[in-house]
């Protein structure tokens, strides 16, 4: 049976409950929430005068009530050392979500650490060192001294290339401006580490170099543009699941025609209608089904391309709009360069594109018209271009990204209301670091260094490559082999003899071993190989700033205590830097030791003041106090001025027609098709029968680092799903829920079979990065020229392992698609 909490009553927040600003720490949308807390032992009443909402709670509340909270929004946590009731519920006054809660964010309270309700009991509470054959608790000083001493010795012997780092670079949980600055200061200022990678890719690089090199920063519009657009052109994104409340609160009103008044008011003098939407995706998604229900099927165009052929489609669309003159000549002349050359270089006929993409030529023509055909009276059509992992983690990332930006520029849709050419995003953003120029371009392919016995010490900050890297089968084998050498060495001498421990560790490193230090909030799969594990605080357990997909910056206020001895990452960095200073000084190298000064931060706000305030554009206007006062709406970066204590932001980038190039002009790019670009992909496609497409599910955030501890999520997805056409299942003699192995020459993984009649034959879709079956195991090591992985174009075989296990017997496999009554 379905998981049920059997909760039939919740405590009521009293009128004097404390209220803190919260931005959801999961996806990039960054929905606004409020945290209500009050001491255990008391509560408010149902009378309107007796509760925090001023509402009679003895009555049934209406739909969309601001005064209702689900059991998942409630917990009992520690706050300043005492137990408090905690309710984290969506904020109806936040412009981003207007009171909507996603199935992820509306579980923030329930996925908080509680020693009373025992939620997230798995959270790391103490520093740990590998001792006595297991990870054993110890003090911060003890753990950091070992990390510093081994790191110093490795760097002294191998140089800074001997230190390999994996670190978050984003906002939200496991990131934020405070923590990216701190880690950046340590590795890019005190040191010049270049063997560094990011949480979901094997190098230190942008996922959208292509757009940036054209002078077009990738988060250039505002969420309101989705309400103003004539057409939404969406590539490789399933926004109802992955940017849920952006879709529900800003796209749906436009698809439904509910934003027409806003369009007429803000954009007078041109005709307006409800939006049309084009979705480029090999797979039919719930986003498409919902769009059809809202806008009518006649206003939805699903371009189900052959996987990896986006670039050909975009070149054909670019060619078509140019040929028909559906371009913004004034904008092209004033704000761009290289248009004519790009038209020549990228010339692709609709028939050529139809052949390669598998689309009907008439659908490509229709898409071009929906994007760019002038409206009645000649007004320019406003089209918002939005893309995410289907493009970013797809074939030929750099060129494909550029070929899409070409269309947006040609049609004058950047910096204008109802436009934009934007990535939709995964995490929130929160990047503030000293220059990374020394990393170089292309950046080092860090996974290959780790696999090939390079480096001696690995610092990991909130990354779990065992779940979120490509070529994961080989990576895990190599990582375990190398770290086991060090574990065996550590086991060979008494744990309390520090000098002997360090000598043993360094001896193992000389034999190809790797000393692994893992900073995280929960035990991770890569952390099972670590020799030192350090417990971090997460959003809400520290003050934390980030920005969302429209550059909206907010402060999440600390509303509860971190577990045990856990600390904000920024303060872990500070203590590690101080320990490294001591280690270098003890080694007699005062000059190097002095590079680790400047970390005398007492709070995360100190790190914010040191980093964002001093280094980011407009940072001088931004303070914790001002952000606190601006609540869950915050402001849109960059800050440009103050109005009293109110920060003035920037609604859209490039509204003045000036782009991020030396001449201020956005440059068109030549983006010729070159087939499946990454090494090994075409051969894999030729050899194996099934496309193993992959991506996210609404219910699961990131690699399920918290959700793997959620009863609701574990009950729903005990195993990752593999969606597959029923006829393919019949050929493979599979029934729903069966356990299968997905395999190819890169490795193997497991999944649970989910029949999907709307799937295309031999095109499966697997949940990405799930703990109980890692899709990355079957992804080849091929990358693009800038070391961007290609997760999406993977092909493999499928075979049955076992009939549906008991853990999936209660599940449903009915269609996820919404259909009107």
């Amino acid at each position: 049976m379905a998981f049920k909490r059997n909760i039939d009553r919740l405590p009521i927040p009293p009128r004097d409950a404390a209220v803190h600003n919260v931005t959801c720490h999961f996806c990039i949308v960054g929905c606004g929430y409020k945290a209500y807390s009050w001491p255990v032992g008391g509560q408010g009443g149902t009378a309107a005068t007796e509760n925090a909402f001023g509402v009679n709670l003895a009555e049934q509340q209406p739909a969309e009530s601001p005064a209702w909270y689900a059991p998942s929004m409630y917990n009992i946590v520690r706050q300043n050392g005492r137990d408090v009731h905690l309710i984290i519920k969506p904020d109806h006054d936040c412009e981003v979500n207007s009171g909507l809660g996603s199935v992820r964010g509306a579980r923030m309270a329930e996925t908080s650490y509680s020693t009373t309700t025992n939620t997230l009991a798995a959270r790391l509470t103490d520093p740990q060192i590998w001792r006595y054959g297991t990870l054993s608790p110890t003090s911060w000083d003890d753990a950091l001294a070992l990390v510093a001493e081994v790191t110093q010795r490795v760097v002294a012997q191998q140089g800074e290339d001997g230190l390999i780092v994996s670190a978050f670079d984003h906002g939200g949980a496991g990131g934020g401006y405070e923590n990216t600055w701190a880690t950046g200061k340590l590795y890019f200022e005190s040191m010049k580490v270049k063997n560094i990678r990011i949480h979901n890719r094997p190098a230190y690089n942008s996922e959208v170099h292509g757009s940036r090199d054209m002078g077009v920063g990738e988060l250039n519009n505002c969420y309101e543009d989705a309400e103003l657009a004539d057409t939404l052109f969406v590539v490789g994104a399933n926004s109802l699941e992955t940017q849920t409340n952006y879709f529900l609160n800003h796209w749906v009103p436009n698809l439904r025609g509910a934003s027409l008044d806003k369009k007429r008011a803000q954009l007078p003098g041109e005709p307006h209608a409800a939006a049309r939407i084009i979705v480029v995706d090999p797979r039919r998604t719930v986003t498409i089904a919902a769009s059809e229900a809202e806008a009518g099927p006649e206003n939805v165009l699903h371009l189900a391309i052959n996987s990896g052929t986006d670039l050909v489609l975009f070149n054909a669309l670019f060619t078509e709009v140019a040929a028909r003159g559906w371009v913004d000549r004034a904008f092209i002349a004033a704000s761009t360069s290289g248009f004519d050359a790009a038209v020549t270089a990228n010339a692709t006929s609709i028939e050529q594109a139809a052949e390669l993409t598998g689309l009907a030529a008439e659908d490509i023509r229709k898409a071009a018209a929906w994007i760019a055909e002038p409206k009645q009276g000649g007004a320019r059509r406003r089209t918002m271009f939005a893309y995410e992992k289907g493009l970013i983690w797809g074939n030929d990332n750099y060129r494909t990204n550029q070929s899409l930006v070409n269309i947006a520029l040609a049609t004058g849709n950047i910096g204008r209301p109802g436009g934009g050419c934007v990535r939709l995003g995964g995490h929130q953003e929160g990047y503030s670091r000293p220059s990374d120029a020394h990393v170089g371009r292309p950046a080092a392919y860090v996974d290959q260094l780790l696999i090939n016995d390079k480096g001696g010490v690995h610092h990991i900050w909130a990354c779990d490559h065992f779940k979120t890297t490509l070529n994961a089968s080989e990576f895990k084998r190599a990582y375990k082999r190398r770290t086991d050498l060090v574990k065996a060495a550590m086991d060979s001498v008494p744990a309390g003899d520090r000098a002997a421990q360090v000598e043993a560790i360094l001896g193992a490193i000389r034999q190809g071993g790797l000393f692994s230090v893992d900073v995280d909030i929960v035990p991770s799969q890569i952390g099972s190989c670590a020799h030192v594990v350090l417990p971090a605080a997460t959003s809400g357990e520290m003050n934390l700033t980030s920005m969302n997909g429209e550059r909206r910056m907010r402060l999440v206020e600390r509303y509860m205590d971190p577990p045990g001895q856990a600390l904000p990452d920024a303060l872990i960095v500070a203590r590690l830097a101080q320990a490294l200073e001591s280690a270098w000084r003890a080694a007699g190298d005062a000059a190097t030791a002095d590079k680790f000064k400047g970390y005398d931060w007492q709070t995360e706000e100190d790190a914010f003041e040191d980093g964002y305030r001093k280094h980011e554009k407009g940072g001088e206007f931004v303070t914790y106090a001002r952000l606190r006062a601006m609540g869950t709406n915050g402001f849109q970066e960059p800050a440009t001025a103050l109005d009293g204590e109110r920060i003035i932001g920037t609604k859209r980038l490039f509204a003045d027609g000036k782009f991020n190039r030396p001449d201020g002009r956005a440059s068109f790019a030549a983006t010729q098709w070159r087939g499946l670009q990454a090494e090994g992909k075409q051969a894999e496609k030729d050899k194996f029968p099934f496309l193993i497409n992959n991506g996210r599910a609404n219910l699961v955030w990131q690699n399920a680092y918290l959700d793997q501890h959620s009863d609701l999520v574990r009950d729903r997805f005990p195993l990752p799903f593999l969606q597959i056409h029923p006829d393919d299942m019949a050929e493979l003699h599979l029934a729903e829920g069966d356990l299968v192995e997905v395999f190819n020459d890169n490795g193997a993984t497991q999944a649970m079979v989910w029949p999907v009649p709307t799937a295309r034959r031999r095109q499966t879709f697997m949940l990405f990065a799930y703990p109980s079956g890692v899709q990355g195991n079957v992804v080849g090591k091929g990358v693009n020229e800038l070391i961007i992985p290609n997760y999406k174009q993977s092909w493999g075989s499928i075979r049955k392992i076992a009939a549906a296990p008991a853990s999936v017997q209660h599940l449903t496999f009915k269609s996820q698609d919404y259909r009107l009554a």
């Binding site: 909760i7 009555e59 209660h810």
Partner: protein, 176 residues
């Protein structure tokens, strides 16, 4: 299918008037109002639920939902005879179930789809499987659908005796 259509239509109306709706309760499905509510204490509930007659087995047609309300008139639901036995089903064929029809996400009224025996929300597209204890097929709700616990008398009377999740819009399933 008259009742089914009525539910669906109501869902559509709410959907279209989104934002302008003030009270779900006032527009709730007019169903069987619990009469002579006796106290019951079914484990593991922590509050006392009324025992309320919802319908008689003879009133139910296979796969046609009958609107009811429980634990009181402001909490709409459906009782359904699915036609095939399901886990948790009651009655002679083990196929009778009852659910709240307020979506646990935002309280929009769910509509029943006979073709796949699901309850679906017109507000934000959440879907729940009536054959799997209200398991969310897909959606925004952070809980599976509240199911009403049922008992069947010898004469075929179907009685609700409790609820297994918090009903949308309430701090307590039994209002006080």
């Amino acid at each position: 299918m008259a009742e089914c259509d009525k539910l669906a239509e109501q869902g559509r109306r709410f959907f279209l008037s989104r934002g302008a709706v003030a009270a779900v309760g006032a527009a709730a499905v007019a169903g069987t109002i619990p009469a002579g509510a006796a106290e019951a204490a079914p484990a593991p509930a922590r509050i006392a639920y009324p025992v309320a007659r919802l319908a008689n087995v003879a009133d139910l047609q296979p796969n046609e939902p009958m609107p009811i309300s429980y634990p009181d008139a402001d909490s709409p639901g459906v009782v359904i005879r699915l036609g095939t036995p399901v886990e948790g089903g009651v009655g002679p064929d083990g196929d009778i179930v009852a659910f709240s029809t307020l979506c646990p996400h935002k309280g929009f009224p769910l509509f029943f789809r006979a073709d796949d025996r699901s309850l679906t929300c017109p507000g934000h597209y959440s879907r729940f499987d009536c054959e799997k204890g209200g398991l969310q097929i897909w959606g925004q709700a952070t809980a599976n659908l509240a199911q009403f616990r049922l008992s069947i008398a010898a004469n075929g009377d179907i009685t609700a005796i409790g609820v297994d999740e918090l009903i949308y819009g309430r701090v307590s399933n039994v209002l006080a």
